[in-house]
Amino acid sequence: MSGTDIVLQDVRKVYYKDRLEIPVLEGLDLRVDAGDFVALMGPSGSGKSTLLHLIGGLDRPTSGQVRVGQAELHRMSERQLTAWRSRHVGFIFQMYHLVPVLTAAQNVELPLLLFRMPARQRRQRVQVALDVVGLGDRMDHRPNQLSGGQEQRVAIARAIVTDPDVILADEPTGDLDAATSSEILDLLRLLNSEFGKTIVMVTHDPRAAARSRRTLHLDKGVLDREELHAATPTGAGA
């Protein structure tokens, strides 16, 4: 395994509700090479989000192994996972999850507060991250002063500001119109192709999935099929 490849071996995940066993992932094997851009698709309950959470160290498998780079997530404690996430993973959510009382710059700065870093360096990084997503001139805007697309861009800036190896996006365009979705997907492609970020994106939208390098279809907790995509030019529309 090299770089920050993502490897899942025989992963099983079971949830329990009122003593009832609910299997979500059933012996799943998956490999995502460093620098890949993978879309995860499948019907509701197929295990897409659970898979994303396992890769992101937000959850641990019931059995099996989850490796991201050198990190063996299935062996790590809650505390270790928390520290690992802050250093290696950037998260993008469907609902952006920006802190409403903070400005765009302050939202982007949040992950950097977990590192020993001079304030000046933090400000520089925030500026760069917001420039990358095209919002360098919106630093002092609060979330309620931004459009949905702009909010998602701020969330992307927050995800990349620590320069993580992996970006995990859960329905990043689910709350956006087609044109804005396309802009966000362009941005994700840019992060993948220009900055070499490994991206795993959960989506229900086949047009969004088509902008990735390959789509993995999940069904009932197992990988059903894989679909390779030809390179789609930036700005091709969602």
């Binding site: 620098g35 959470h53 992101g56 937000l58 959850d59 505390r79 928390t82 520290a83 996430r85 802050s86 250093r87 998260f91 959510f93 609902m95 999850h97 802190v99 409403p100 009382v101 903070l102 302050q106 700065e109 949040l110 992950p111 507060l113 977990l114 590192f115 020993r116 870093m117 990084r125 760069v128 991250a129 420039d131 990358v132 927050r158 990349i160 500001v161 620590t162 320069d163 859960d170 220009e194 900055f195 070499g196």
Partner: protein, 411 residues
Amino acid sequence: MAENPAARTVRASESSIMGLPLVYHWRSLFARRSTTLLTVLVVAAVTAVLAWMLSFAAALRSSLAVAADGRKIIVLKRGATAESNSAIRAEDMNLLTQVEGLDIDPETGRALISPEMLVQVQLPRLADGGRTAANVAVRGVTGTAFSVHRNVQLDGRCFAAGSREVIVGRTAARQFAGLRVGDTINLGYGSDRGYTVVGTFSAGGGPMESEIWGYLPSLMNAYNRTLYSSAALRIAPDADSRAVIERIEGPAVQLNASTEADYWREQAMLVRVYLAVAGVLVGLMAVAAVLSVANTMYASVAGRTREIAMLRTIGFGPGRILAGFVLEAAILALIGGVLGCAACAAWLRLVGNTKDMFGATTFTSMAFQIVLDPRTAAEALACVVLVGAAGAVFPARRAARLPAISGLREV
């Protein structure tokens, strides 16, 4: 592959040290304005009462500390608990002169013994425009009193021997009507003799500042008294106060004696009870404040589930989340605390900062100058910050234990 402009310098070895920014907590507090303001008001009320109580206790401590002259002994009749119920015969007073260990007046060569008589008069309080009155101690003294009570400093003229003149303690002058220099007050049995106020005196802020002093024979005559109330003695520098007390209480003299500090500590007992009751009330109010802070913080946590889940997701551990919410509550309490201290200071300024309390057995007014000093304000603030932190513990624990995944799914 192009280099990420967001510089690849965050290394695994870098330890995380900071929490959430203060601006986050500050603005989050005021995102739910009405609940926050209500809690701030509750905390402010608690702080105001607490600050007043602490100031009062400090004033009492300082007043009694001033009176705590270790070289001075107060002598009363055996069995008496205060000057007001004590009576010492002239022959007993003579016996005191034979007690070993007393300081000697270098001018007269006599032992420093101040025979004194204490009566009470009712005077209208200035604080309420004279609607209510309180007992004020009138002390008959001789010139020796100024050698025995060494913290007494005259401001202006002293009463003349044999005259109908009095001098007034600084605190009493501030607190009661008719005690300005030049005023005449009626004293004596039947209040039929006019005494002119000719000067004021200080006693280092001690209880004697609440008194009126006049010439002993004149006042004894005015009140038809033949017995003294008490005697104040000064001990020789090389004498042991306990030994002197034992001699006075022994078979040769048979009077009660205690150091001035012990005497006033006993007299202030009622004030201590008052403070204890006030302390219980403040404690109950503090519990209400804890509950109010807890309520506010629970509401805050409930309204910020997704936000907290996001913070957990991006790497803020449970400890940081918990500390953040406790800090937020502490800020909330501090705002209330500052307001409360300001309210207390304003109250003392507007309504007056001289408080009179009755002595435990004399029923005579003992006045204290209450001042909210920076140290007392800091103590009150520290207490309410603890109250705030206590109120935040359970909501903060709930926040810290929120699982990131379910929190993110909450819409």
